[in-house]
């Protein structure tokens, strides 16, 4: 059971490892970033649309042929009054809607034209700047994946490559998308694994990765608890040492070493200059760090999984699975020695 736990941990780490690192690094970026700049709002300012218009000049709604509407707003765009007819709209602004503008003085349809879009864009920008191009985009809009309605895109020739998006049905500035914002959006895309450009985080890819990561964390936690129970992780390090006789077979040298009773034999030997072979770093999964104990030491599940019955019978155990406190005299074959007692 515990072996399965470790195997699972290994393969899950391979599956989610890179994404886990991406989550952590982008998370760190969100922690450190300048949120106003990241939203693209460094140069954004409010556009004043309201102006005094003689109220008598507004055309009565009853004189217009208006299709059934959920609501009608009186809007000002650059000083001119408009009726905004909302036939159908969702809970969020970006959702598909049926909304159009009428000139509130003449009653004629007055879709937001390029001149207005360009003027609003310039007024919404703090600095004096020139426009390279303006065009009306239909969704999907690459920079704003959630958007489901047409927007004007006004491209500025500033140093930060700003594109200003303005809602066709209201003249409202939706976003200043500049290089700062593009970096933030990339970080969000990576964090949300939104590689299909849905603009959100409720999709199957990330749900599968989240489940896998949860299992990875759980197997890791179980492993830690197991190590804690085995006395290899203690909350308070009390320094108890014990002397152990260690015979190194390659060099045929015997040392008497003072080892920490509460840390694993594997770690204790490293601290004393004897490095045993290992590829799992003392996790009990590679089976490389075997030592021969001359006294009786109970075999753990990892010992049984990695060592043959014959080896177990001869007293072989994994150094990472036992504490110095359990042994008095051992034989090892080291990978590296820097030991001078």
């Amino acid at each position: 059971m515990f072996k399965l736990n470790k195997t699972l941990h290994k393969w899950l780490s391979l599956f989610v490892g890179l994404q886990l690192l991406i989550w952590l690094i982008t998370g760190l970026y969100f922690n450190l970033m300048d949120h106003k700049k990241g939203a693209g709002n460094a140069n954004l300012r409010t556009v004043v649309h309201r102006a005094k218009v003689p109220h008598t000049s507004l055309i009565p709604l009853q004189s217009l042929a208006i299709k059934p509407a959920q609501s009608i707003k009186l809007l000002w765009i650059l000083g001119q009054p408009y009726y905004q007819i909302i036939e159908q709209a969702g809970a969020h602004r970006y959702q598909t809607k049926v909304v159009y503008l009428l000139d509130a003085q003449t009653g004629t349809p007055a879709p937001l034209n390029e001149t207005l879009a360009r003027t609003i864009a310039l007024k919404s920008f703090k600095e004096a700047v020139n426009i390279t191009e303006a065009r009306l985009l239909e969704p999907p809009i690459a920079a704003l994946p959630k958007e489901q309605n047409p927007l004007w895109q006004v491209i500025l020739n500033d140093a930060n490559n700003t594109h200003i998006y303005i809602e066709h049905s209201s003249g409202q500035v939706i976003a200043h998308v500049n290089d700062d914002r593009r970096l933030r959006d990339l970080a969000f895309k990576l964090h949300f694994m939104d590689y299909m450009n849905t603009g959100g985080f409720n999709h199957w890819l990330i749900i599968i990765f989240a489940i896998t990561t949860l299992v990875l964390s759980l197997t890791g936690a179980t492993w830690l608890i197991e190590r804690f129970k085995a006395g290899q992780l203690s909350l308070i390090f009390k320094h108890h040492k014990k002397s152990v006789t260690v015979t190194e077979l390659t060099s045929q040298q015997t040392h008497t070493l003072a080892l920490e009773t509460k840390s694993s034999l594997f770690d204790g030997l490293i601290a004393s200059g004897i490095q045993l072979p290992s590829s799992c770093g003392g996790g009990g999964t590679c089976g490389l760090c075997k030592v021969r104990c001359k006294s009786v030491v109970n075999a753990t599940s990892a010992d049984k999984a990695r060592l043959s019955d014959a080896k177990l019978e001869q007293g072989y155990r994994l150094a990472c699975e036992h504490n110095a406190g359990e042994v008095t005299d051992i034989e090892v074959r080291a990978k590296l020695i820097r030991c001078d007692d």
Partner: protein, 223 residues
Amino acid sequence: MAFIGIQFLIWSLSGLYMVSMDIHFIHGESLQAQTKQPIALAQVNYSFSNLLSEYPDAIQVELTQLLGKPIYRFVDKNQRKYMLNAQTGAPLPLIDKDRALLIAKHNMRGNNSIASVQLIDDTSTLPSELSTRHLPVWQVVFEHYSSPTFYISQHFGNIVTKRHFFWRMFDWMWRFHIMDYDDGENVANWFLLFIALLSVSAALLGLMLTYQRVFKPSSTGAN
């Protein structure tokens, strides 16, 4: 390093909750009935022009409806809220308890009965899930295990926000995810920075181990 494991567990649990629950459901959009009747324009005897002559400073003027009757909503330059009867132009009184209950029932998709209703009009009784700009509001809680709650503006009679168990849970998950345990609003907290830095190194070390174990298996190991 071992303690980082706890935060990894918290991140994966809270992350899983947030990605697997549909965000529109979390925001209570499924609680509210979406069938909206068109405004009865024939009844609108008080025009936008009448409104502007009486309230020259009006902004955000909207002709809409409340419980089937056409109304105007707008604010003045001091953000004071007004609601008028669109048939007569008469200012409408603040929403009382009975009207609040009617509005709540009218907007609720299900047939749940009301568990509680109370007026929240000052910051001392303000629940943390509600912004002060919405005050004063009626809080209407429905009978259901997820405690669906509508907050209804006393000035405008509209539902300013909704909550239910799953949204409140989401907010807690968010707090755990960004490790901001006081108000859950600040991603730029030093605690997260510290743990995230440690975690990046832990993950890198873990990946090295994975690389060692998976791509460089040693044949001299077992037995």
